[in-house]
Point group: C2
Chain length 263, copies 2
């Protein structure tokens, strides 16, 4: 039986990571929630690393540091990306593989094309590559975040994944509306929609009169219907998208073979 | 008709990017090769940004600089990731969308799970997100690189893509063996195989006696057969893998819906 499908009979060991860094409020909510169902190790970037996608650090070494916020929170920081955190946690911090990796709770949704930019999802995908079932959690807001219900739902879903397992090389990317529990209309299992950013890069001059550019934009809804993550979350549903390590467009193989490039 | 499928009747405008940075030998070979079939704009990271995947820069502004190596090479540098380069090129450097984006030629193969870590592929995927047909090229070696045939093949394939178009939200990730043309056995249209790195992170002490960790490893062949990129390139074939922006594991939607999370 593959590790992905193993149901632990002992108290599960849960590795918690994120991309907002060790001080992220969502990380602390997630770690506290997970402690109710298992033993927890926190390994997070030493500073915010949003938008890092599946980036890993190649050219420079990494540092691991112990971090204690207070008597109730202990963790490790890694001076790199979310993917680095998972790699270093599995190779040098943990003595054995965790039963599950949970990443988040991210500040801001990771629907649609954000799946590619997201370090929160990147950490989970690295878990899957290393054969650990992994789930990414994101709260769909950039202001007035209330992680209360997201933390509770993360625990419910983590229990489910520990029981059911996940398909190989597949993580769940979960997006939760920033709403009190009664206003959430349900759970939708969705596909990554094609909503994408309308770029609106800021161009300004610095104090020397030299221009700088700051990436910015707004996520535009590109497809409608409850199959699609961004649509569903705007309708106040929690979305669960199974995200694959395999990025092949399998349906395109045939048409490209017709190009007869061997001639 | 979607931009992806447009066949330009004029001399094509080709945007060239990479992840090894503006000084990368493969970038210069690719730009020179593309000049034979179109007008070329080079926009590349100001320094090497390997392993950046789909990372984008959020927390700090970016700088654009003009770069002239000699009278035959002019380009722009962006102080960020390969994805940043594409974003800034399309929003602030080019006055209209290019006909095609080519990324590379990367130093080192981007088969299998490297698809996720690769900034070369990341740049191409960003092109697809912005509705420009895009191709990533990588040379399968870390030493004694000879980009001669890779540059020639890149031109042949780019011409083909300009004629045929690409499926929406799909790029081609092309890996070329580091061999002279007569030793290359053909072209294989492949899927992203499940080969992955056996982690072998280096742990050493610095001059103060404090430990540091440097990510390292070796790509292990995990699946055999000409369907899979890493297998095919080891058999001396050029591999072409169609890579999708949509990372959904569509076949998993049904089984997760059976969890009945709405109860």
């Amino acid at each position: 039986m593959r590790p992905e499908n193993t149901v632990p009979e002992h108290k599960p060991h849960i590795l918690v990571c994120n991309d907002d860094g060790i001080d992220g409020e969502g990380l602390h909510v997630l770690a506290a929630s997970m402690k109710k169902i298992g033993s927890v190790t926190v390994v997070a970037p030493s500073e915010p690393r949003s938008g890092m996608g599946h980036a890993m650090t190649l050219g420079i070494p990494l540092r691991i540091r112990e971090y204690a916020k207070n008597s109730r929170f202990f963790g490790y920081t890694v001076s790199g990306t979310p993917v680095d955190c998972i790699k270093v946690a599995l190779s040098h911090i943990l003595s054995e593989k965790p039963d599950i990796i949970v990443s988040g709770i991210n500040y801001g949704s990771n629907t649609a094309t954000n799946t590619l930019y997201s370090g929160t999802v990147g950490a989970a995908l690295e878990g899957a590559i290393q054969h650990v079932p992994s789930v990414a959690f994101s709260l769909a807001t950039y202001k007035d975040a209330d992680f209360t219900y997201a933390g509770k739902f993360a625990r419910k879903l983590t229990r489910k994944v520990l029981r059911e397992g996940l398909p190989p090389d597949t993580v769940l990317s979960v997006n939760i509306p920033n709403l009190p529990e009664p206003e959430i209309r349900g759970v939708a299992v969705t596909a990554q929609g094609s909503s994408r950013w309308a770029e609106n890069t800021i161009e300004r001059d610095d104090m020397y009169g030299n221009p700088y550019y700051w990436l910015s934009g707004e996520l535009q809804l590109m497809d409608e219907g409850m199959l699609y993550d961004e649509y569903a979350i705007r309708k106040q549903y929690i979305t669960i998208t199974p995200v694959s390590v395999d990025m092949t467009n399998h349906s395109a193989l045939k048409s490209i073979r017709r190009w007869k490039l061997n001639r």
